[in-house]
């Protein structure tokens, strides 16, 4: 080993570089298809971003259409539907974080305290299942359960309460988004916390027992500190998803209808609607998308800085 290092030092840096490349030629060969994939399908669309600064015409295409500077961005701030969608996105994002974030933590703690192994496994299977279904499926089931003749309304009427139009009620639409999101994803998210808990040294629990800690105290002083850094990291990651309303396109798109656009339309669904459901202004739609991406990216970089300042490993 030492000899090899000595040999390397004597070589010319150029030769060393070439030798490094040659030695790893198979690694580069393995990387090539992946890089081509990213170049084409991830970086390819980034080239189209210049549309946000152009007045797109079919004749001119991306390159030949005239430049309009920041006009499309100026249009954003006078478009009431955009402003509404922007507000909704932020409200729904934070709603999802506030109501949805603690649930998987709670589930993980409870599952960890559960003493029947078999029952625990069965429950986990049940809890994680909805994660694997599309929002098309979930929304069909939601429409069935919350529909006019659905189970929830039947329950209300048996209890002597009035039937509700859950899916067409502006007051109820956002809570419906929060609840269905928790229902679909909380069990799945709890797995990552369970993983963190399983990484806790068992001696810590034994030591706590010897010190006379009861179960609540063990949760508070052993389990929670063991999963806290994961919780912080996930919270920061969710900040980076604020402009997507927490991966909300599929959910909102499949659940909403014109009656609740006012409270449910998010930026992604807004872009879809203005592009594919009315005469499109590609420049404007692209500007909305770019505006969203830039804010998201800015939030994420900020979150990463905060994470590192707090002594976390950070996101990148």
């Amino acid at each position: 080993m030492r000899q090899e290092m000595g040999l390397r030092l004597k070589q010319h840096p150029h030769k060393k570089f070439v030798r490094d490349i040659l030695r790893n030629k198979y690694i580069y060969l393995l990387l090539l298809p992946g890089i081509l994939f990213y170049l084409l399908f991830a970086y390819g669309p980034m080239y189209g971003i210049i549309l946000a600064f152009k007045d797109y015409t079919f004749k001119g295409g991306i390159l030949g259409s005239p430049w309009v500077g920041l006009e499309k961005f100026r249009m954003l701030f006078v478009e009431p539907e955009f402003i509404q969608a922007f507000k909704n996105t932020i409200i729904i994002s934070f709603g999802k974080i506030i109501f949805g974030f603690p649930i998987p933590i709670l589930l993980a703690i409870l599952l960890n305290e559960l003493r029947f192994k078999k029952f625990k496994k069965t429950l986990q299977t049940v809890f994680t299942f909805p994660h694997f279904l599309s929002w098309i499926i979930i929304s069909s089931i939601v429409l069935n359960i919350f529909g006019n003749l659905g189970a929830v309304n039947n329950l209300l009427s048996v209890l002597g309460l009035e039937r509700q139009h859950f899916l067409a009620d502006k007051q109820l639409f956002r809570p419906l988004l929060y609840i269905t999101d928790i229902w679909k994803e909380a069990g799945w998210s709890s797995i990552i916390y369970l993983a963190a808990i399983s990484g806790i040294n068992p001696e810590l629990y034994e030591a706590a027992t010897i010190d006379g800690a009861n179960r609540f105290q063990k949760i508070r002083y052993v389990t929670w500190p063991g999963m806290r850094s994961v919780a912080e990291l996930l919270l920061l990651l969710s900040i980076g998803q604020v402009m997507n309303a927490g991966y909300g396109f599929d959910q909102v798109f499949n659940l909403y209808n014109p009656t609740v656009y006012e409270v449910g339309d998010i930026i992604d669904t807004f872009v879809y609607r203005i592009t594919f459901q009315r005469p499109p202004d590609f420049g404007f739609s692209t500007a909305v998308g770019l505006f969203k991406s830039v804010i998201n990216f800015g939030l994420l970089v900020t979150a990463d800085r905060v994470a590192k300042a707090l002594g976390q490993r950070g996101i990148f």
């Binding site: 393995l30 669309p45 991306i62 499926i137 229902w183 797995i191 963190a196 872009v271 770019l290």
Partner: protein
Amino acid sequence: MKKRKMTGFDIAIILLLAFYGLLILYPFYNSFLVSLVPQNTYTKTPFMLWPSEIDLKSYQFIFLSKKFWSGYRVTSIVTVVGVLYNMFLTVITAYALSKNHFKGKGLVLNFIIFTMYFSGGLIPYYMLINSLDLTNKIAVMILPTGINTFFMLIMRNFFSTIPKSLVESAKIDGANEIQVLIKIILPVSKPSLATIGLFYAVDRWNEWFNAMLFIRDGSKHTLQLVLRRLISQVQSAESGNIPDIVKDGLFQDGVKMAGVFVTILPIMLLYPLLQKYFMKGIMIGAIKG
């Protein structure tokens, strides 16, 4: 561990978790019942716990519908071909990135991770697909989804937990990286391959968005999109348009729910089998991630 006495705390936990489990299961069960019973049974019994009368007309409608069969066919193609393509790209990229020493590794990693946080957006993507002439081709539901960066990073973490000594000894015998990958790494990575393979399979099975944007020809629509169309067709029936289902006097909600169960059946069958694998796989990814 010593056997401890059941305390009130234990019972409370059991009840709480069982209640949450029921909250997850009941909507599925209720929807399943709706797919099984005729309309008047459904409207007469506000709380169905057991179907008092079974009628398979809804399933009959779905199974006789050409659209569902073609949806099944397209989705199966997309899933099988798509997962092979996904796994090929993901495995080679993840393996290369799990190696420690090669020039430009940091650059490649940043190049990839950047795409997780910044994208061109819907319109540039739409125009790219059009300019690649992928519109109305089944390939449009496969090619653009080659690597899910998050899954790839999980797999990379798994690869980097494999003891280096395994690789070294193969290399002494003269194997190159590609031979090492095929003969040494893949056989010991079954849990990880099964996990990520399942994730991809589910994603491809759930494909509808690319189909909705780019496929004009109805016979190339995926199962999910066929279901979505069926549901919105039924919905618009409530606002005046009369589709075939209503003319045939079928129970609309029943047909919808039968469609749901026909669509998720493969996931329901596959899921319990692979579940034990992915719990392990994701945990390794999560801890080391």
